[in-house]
Amino acid sequence: MTTIDWMQGAPLVSRVNSGPVSAEAEVHAVYAAEYAQLAGWAARLVGDPDLAHDLATEAFVRLLRHWPKVTGPRAWLYTCVGNQVKDHWRKRERESRAYRRFASSTPPEAQVAEHATTLSVQDAVQSLPDRLRLPVLLHYFADLSVAQVATSLGLSDGAVKRYLFDARALLAPRLEDVR
């Protein structure tokens, strides 16, 4: 039960003073509770279980290194993976843009139309401007609160709400089409 509490972001005073051994034990507890879901979450976004494992593993490596400073491990982990996913998407966008130049047979509009009836999370979030992606991922898909998203991204609550509002305005019509 207490585990759940600090997973949600309450600062742990005792944790700050703990040594490296107990830090490892504590992060292991987080690992046991969160890793599977986190990796699955990432897999849904990148469409590749191996890559998802890599991203989640990297997030835990960083968590272990920054453990004394982390107050909300769950939010921290999802933000970390979210950032990596975003970077991965950027790389992929760059590659596909270059590829599209050479494979010009199918116009991009036609490709989009083919997938219009099933909108994946990846497509939905990627259709948003860069600045809106992470707030949407964390708030809606990782189910973090506005406050947690704001803290994790270094934004004010108001800024997060504004981003979510903008995202709703952009995505809602697309989701209507999909249904």
């Binding site: 490892e24 690992y31 046991a32 890793y35 599977a36 879901q37 990796a39 699955g40 979450w41 897999a43 849904r44 998802a52 494992h53 989640a56 593993t57 997030a59 835990f60 490596v61 960083r62 272990l64 290194r65 921290w76 933000t79 970390c80 979210g82 950032n83 990596q84 975003k86 970077d87 950027r90 966008e93 760059r94 843009r97 270059a98 130049r101 999370v121 939905a124 860069d130 600045r131 949407v136 809606y140 898909f141 189910d143 609160s145 506005v146 994790s152 991204l153 270094g154 934004l155 004010s156 108001g158 800024a159 504004r162 979510l164 995202a167 709703r168 995505l171 809602a172 989701l175 209507e176």
Partner: protein, 279 residues
């Protein structure tokens, strides 16, 4: 959380989240995590230690250089300079020979010698040390190679073109302000207020443009731009924009290297050109 009763995104993402299939978390993976975390934290010390060592070395070199320098009263006469250098040197002949070449250069040389940033910098001393005098300049400025062992190179410097500006400016930074145009002029508080980011650090500042970052996991760097006194987020870093696009949108050339190098063909109808990766 906010009120999501009629939030279409909430329903969609809830549904999608329910379909997330957890991936296995085994002990082997945990072992890899602890191994990698340990290995990395050890690695952090290597560059940190080398930076500290280098700083110590430079500090020691500068202090010894300052001690050895007699610091005469400032006179703009180049003749006094010629007297000064031999006193300060511990090495014999070569420095003495450099002195005449220094005196041959008229006081005019002091101006081009000190590059833009340093002209205002040392009013009294620069007059005493006209065109990069041998021992003093290498000590007080403590440039790259060997601060304690000057000799040879000085005569040539005085007669030929001015020394490479970047080296001298960076070295001369400490005494005065001015040489860090990188972060001045971009008020982090103003950017924080305008963009809503919290805890902003200005990494690079060029006029109305800046590269800022916020504390947080992962890559949080962003380009911000000030127009009519208001800062807005221009793009994330790394950006998918090409340098040509960025340039067209007003990004200053100092920040262009952060953007992608693409070759541009002017054929596209939208006027932005098609882009392709160079490599």
């Amino acid at each position: 959380m906010t009120d999501h009763d009629n939030d279409p995104l909430r329903a969609y993402f809830d549904r999608e989240r329910d379909q997330v299939e957890p991936l296995p978390a085994d002990d082997e993976r945990w072992g890899e995590i602890t191994r990698r975390a340990g290995r990395r934290s050890r690695r952090v010390w290597v560059p940190a230690a080398s930076v500290a060592a280098a700083a110590l070395l430079v500090g020691a070199a500068v202090t010894t250089g300052i001690r050895q320098q007699p610091l005469p009263p400032a006179t703009s006469d180049s003749v006094t300079m010629s007297v000064q250098t031999p006193v300060s040197t511990d090495q014999p002949a070569p420095t003495v020979t450099t002195v005449p070449t220094v005196t041959t250069m008229p006081p005019v040389t002091t101006v081009p010698e000190s590059p833009p940033a340093s002209t205002t910098r040392r009013p009294a001393i620069s007059s005493t040390v006209p065109p990069m005098p041998p021992a003093t300049s290498s000590r007080s400025a403590a440039p790259p190679p060997a601060p304690g062992s000057p000799t040879t190179t000085t005569p040539r410097r005085t007669s030929t073109a001015p020394p490479p500006p970047p080296a001298s400016t960076s070295v001369r930074t400490p005494p005065t302000t001015r040489t860090s145009p990188t972060t001045t002029g971009c008020d982090a508080t103003a950017i924080t207020n305008d963009t809503g980011r919290v805890g902003i650090t200005v990494d690079v500042c060029v006029g109305d443009w800046a590269l800022v970052s916020t504390p947080g996991p992962g890559d949080t760097s962003e380009f911000v731009h000030r127009s009519s006194g208001h800062w807005t987020v221009f793009d994330g870093q790394p950006s998918t924009r090409c340098q040509s696009e960025a340039k067209a949108e007003g990004v200053p050339k100092q920040l262009l290297p952060y953007f992608r190098a693409c070759s541009t063909t002017p054929s596209a109808a939208d006027g932005r050109g098609e882009t392709a990766l160079l490599s």
